[in-house]
């Protein structure tokens, strides 16, 4: 489903919301039976319900999850599965993740929630040093594969320094964990179920701006979407755009505008950041010869840098133009300056044109 049908207010009123099937394989990897219109937090809620239903050893915990969570992602879980499986933790991120690792090490599915990705840093040591290396250093005797850490990330319009960060790049630098970011409700449900059932520790970042804003037809049954498989959500021939999460809707806007100028853009949703699907991106770049990466996190050292370096390494002779990165600026996420900081549609459009006309 085209993203712009999903996202309402964020884009603005200029775009008519016309139903249009994209050429992606999205509709074919999941059967559409019993699909219901719902938003991102409801889709995630459904995924959690299914996860706890199908695995009696699955637990959900974090700050304020019991009443439903500050974003309503955990509504109804405590009532349905009991306080022994869905419970609140005190305010201690390091403790929450460490505790989750231990729980997972005993063979359980520990689904930990960090209330905002900005607060994940006290748990950074636990994730990097404990979770990521557990299997490796114990010679496969132990692992914490059952651990999934969910955190809302990204700008929300007024979040300021500590409610808007995109810390995915820090975690992409750690072999041993997976980082997954969904772009829409349907994707989120399938990806989250895959993450929970994946035998590796996963950090799942949810774009908080889309919690209510993104509405999509989501099948009610239990389905999983494959990890480490990028998806081409819009076919094109002139330039490849790579992104993830909420940024994709911005990029799609730019693609549509660029189409008016005769530029055919191919848009890829990476979905899993590590380990990332190099083949799909590479195949696309071999087709178009140009690539643009966009993310909200600051440009220096962002995950776009890794994609750029890999593509240049593998497709150097095929490239017609330098790899473009349209990302957040190298400043702390600002308060009043948020509109300047964000990689907006116009910035992406400008970069598309500059790259194509190189």
């Amino acid at each position: 489903m085209a993203l712009r049908n999903i996202i309402g207010k964020r884009i603005g009123n200029g775009i008519g919301l016309v139903g249009r099937r994209s050429l992606s394989t999205a509709t074919s990897d999941v059967e559409n039976r019993n699909a219901k219109s719902m938003n991102l937090y409801s889709a995630i809620n459904q995924a959690l319900h299914l996860a706890l239903e199908t695995d009696p050893r699955a637990f959900v915990f974090g700050e304020d999850v019991s009443f439903g969570g500050v974003f309503r992602c955990t509504t109804g879980l405590a009532d349905r599965f009991g306080k022994a499986r869905v419970f609140n933790t005190p305010l201690c991120e390091q403790g929450i993740v460490g505790f989750g690792i231990g729980l997972a090490a005993m063979g359980n599915r520990a689904i930990a929630e960090i209330q905002f990705a900005d607060y994940i840093y006290p748990a950074f040591d636990q994730i990097v040093n404990e979770a990521a290396k557990f299997r490796y250093r114990s010679g496969n005797q132990f692992n914490c594969g059952g651990l999934t850490i969910r955190a809302p990330y990204g700008a929300v319009g007024h979040g300021g320094h500590y409610h808007s960060q995109s810390p995915e790049a820090f975690f992409c630098h750690v072999p041993g964990i997976k980082v997954v970011i969904p772009r829409s409700p349907r994707q989120a449900k399938g990806l989250l179920l895959s993450c929970i059932r994946d035998p590796n520790p996963v950090v799942f970042f949810e774009p908080k701006w889309l919690y209510r804003l993104a509405v999509e037809e989501v099948p009610e049954h239990d389905y999983m979407l494959p990890l480490s498989k990028a998806e081409v959500i819009r076919q094109g021939s002139d330039i490849t755009l790579v992104g993830w999460g909420a940024q994709l809707s911005i990029m799609e806007q730019a693609c549509i505008e660029a189409e008016k100028d005769g530029i055919s853009c191919e848009l890829i949703d990476l979905k899993t950041l590590i380990p990332w699907d190099k083949e799909t991106v590479e195949a696309s770049v071999r087709k178009t010869g140009r690539v643009l990466i966009s993310h909200e996190a600051p440009v220096t050292g962002g995950f776009g840098a890794e994609i750029s370096a890999s593509i240049v390494e593998r497709c150097f002779l095929r490239l017609e133009a330098p790899v473009a990165r349209v990302c957040g600026l190298d400043t702390p996420f600002p308060l009043v300056f948020e509109p300047f900081y964000m990689p907006s549609k116009n910035k992406v459009l400008d970069a598309i044109k500059a790259t194509v006309n190189y």
Binding site: L91, H158, G160, H163, L335, N346
Partner: protein, 394 residues
């Protein structure tokens, strides 16, 4: 009417205020009388690993009236911030302190501006206590240039260097080890000052708090850790988050004191005691038993996890401003009319300041890049796609 009577009598021959030699004129509502008065705190102090200070607090009319005015100002300011937020002049996050004013005001009465205070994000009133102006508060809340952090910080990031107010921190608990660092610097420079590191009952369960306690105790730092226990960490009641909600005892080997945080005089006494203790014996924990009327932030109605009866009960029984009002009236330091006038004056001051703050402009776009690194260094990018970069490197 009594008011016009006061205004017109320049000789002040008729005295409505018995112990004072000067009456209370409208334009200068704070009395200058410093005759000592002794007042008992509402409840005795409970202590852990130390001797509790006496329940009798020395104060004077000037101080009491200052307390009243300051707390009325803080209360009015917070309520005005509530309206501004709903009118979308303030965006982002806004954590209001109304109900807890006694802690800010009582603390200031016991210390100097050379002592350091560091707190979390519920910092508007602490900033005022440290000498910040209303204009700086409202301008910063609205993200304008006249704000104390030049509009770049917002509600959670108020700072005032010249009165040693170290802010204003968003991440829960992160300010406590910072406070211990401040205390170390103070001890090193031997200037007989202390640091008050404030945190909430939610933050009391953060690991870094215990790291900070251990460090301060190990090195005898003049650090006073103040737990502003308003009994709810966002929506979580203290007994659901902490095995031991006796936060003043959590320091184990660090002494602690439990204080009625709604009684400004008790707060003053405790802080005075704590300062003396910290300078001689190292860290001490103060648990201020207080209450916030608003929810955690403006997006929290504050009534889903506690009953309205509870909130109104506290407002009736323990409101800090009412307590001081009763004290002033019972000691005949001012009349009800005069106190109401102070409140009216405060209200007008707040309204005028808001108008003024609204006129302050937003920060210049180029300020987006300033102060990322020390002055003059760093990167500035230009152009529609911000591709042109100018880097100033050392």
């Amino acid at each position: 009417m009594a008011l016009s009577y006061l205004r017109s009598s320049s000789s002040r021959s008729v005295n409505l205020l018995k112990p004072l030699s000067s009456s209370l004129p409208l334009r200068r509502p704070i009395s200058t009388d410093t005759t000592p008065i002794t007042v008992e705190t509402s409840v005795p102090f409970t202590s852990h690993q130390c001797d509790a200070p006496s329940r009798s607090v020395e104060t004077n009319p000037k101080e009491l009236l200052t307390f009243f005015r300051d707390m009325a100002l803080m209360r009015r300011m917070e309520i005005a911030a509530d309206s501004l937020y709903k009118a979308k002049f303030i965006r982002g996050f806004c954590h209001l302190y109304d109900g807890q004013e006694a802690v800010a005001v009582g603390m200031e009465a016991a210390i100097t501006k050379k002592d350091c205070i560091i707190t979390a994000y519920r910092d508007h009133c602490t900033f005022i206590g440290r000498g910040g102006t209303l204009l700086e508060v409202f301008a910063e809340l609205m993200g304008r240039q006249a704000g104390c952090s030049k509009g770049k910080g917002g509600s959670m990031h108020f700072y005032k260097k010249d009165s040693n107010f170290y802010g204003g921190h968003g991440i829960v608990g992160a300010q406590v080890p910072l406070g211990c660092g401040l205390a170390f610097a103070q001890k090193y420079s031997k200037d007989e000052t202390v640091t008050f590191a404030l945190y909430g009952d939610g933050a009391a369960n953060q690991g870094q708090l215990f790291e900070a306690l251990n460090i301060s105790a190990l090195w005898d730092l003049p650090a006073i850790l103040v737990c502003e226990n308003n009994h709810y960490g966002m929506g979580t009641a203290e007994w659901r988050a902490a095995k031991s909600p006796a936060y003043y005892k959590r320091g184990d080997y660090v002494p602690g004191l439990k204080v009625d945080g709604m009684d400004a005089l008790a707060v003053k006494q405790a802080c005075k005691f704590a300062k003396e203790h910290a300078l001689k014996n190292g860290p001490i924990i103060l648990e201020m038993d207080t209450y916030r009327y608003h929810g955690h932030s403006m997006s929290d109605p504050g009534s889903t996890y506690r009953t309205r009866d509870e909130i109104s009960g506290v407002r009736q029984e323990r409101d800090p401003i009412e307590r001081i009002r009763k004290l002033i009236l019972s000691h005949d330091l001012a009349t009800e009319e005069e106190l109401k006038d102070i409140e009216k004056e405060v209200r007008k001051e707040v309204d005028d300041t808001i108008t003024q703050a609204k006129e302050s402009p937003m920060p210049e776009p180029s300020k987006l890049f300033t102060n990322v690194y020390a002055k003059g260094l760093g990167v500035e990018s230009f152009g529609a796609d911000r591709k042109e970069v100018r880097a100033t490197l050392p």
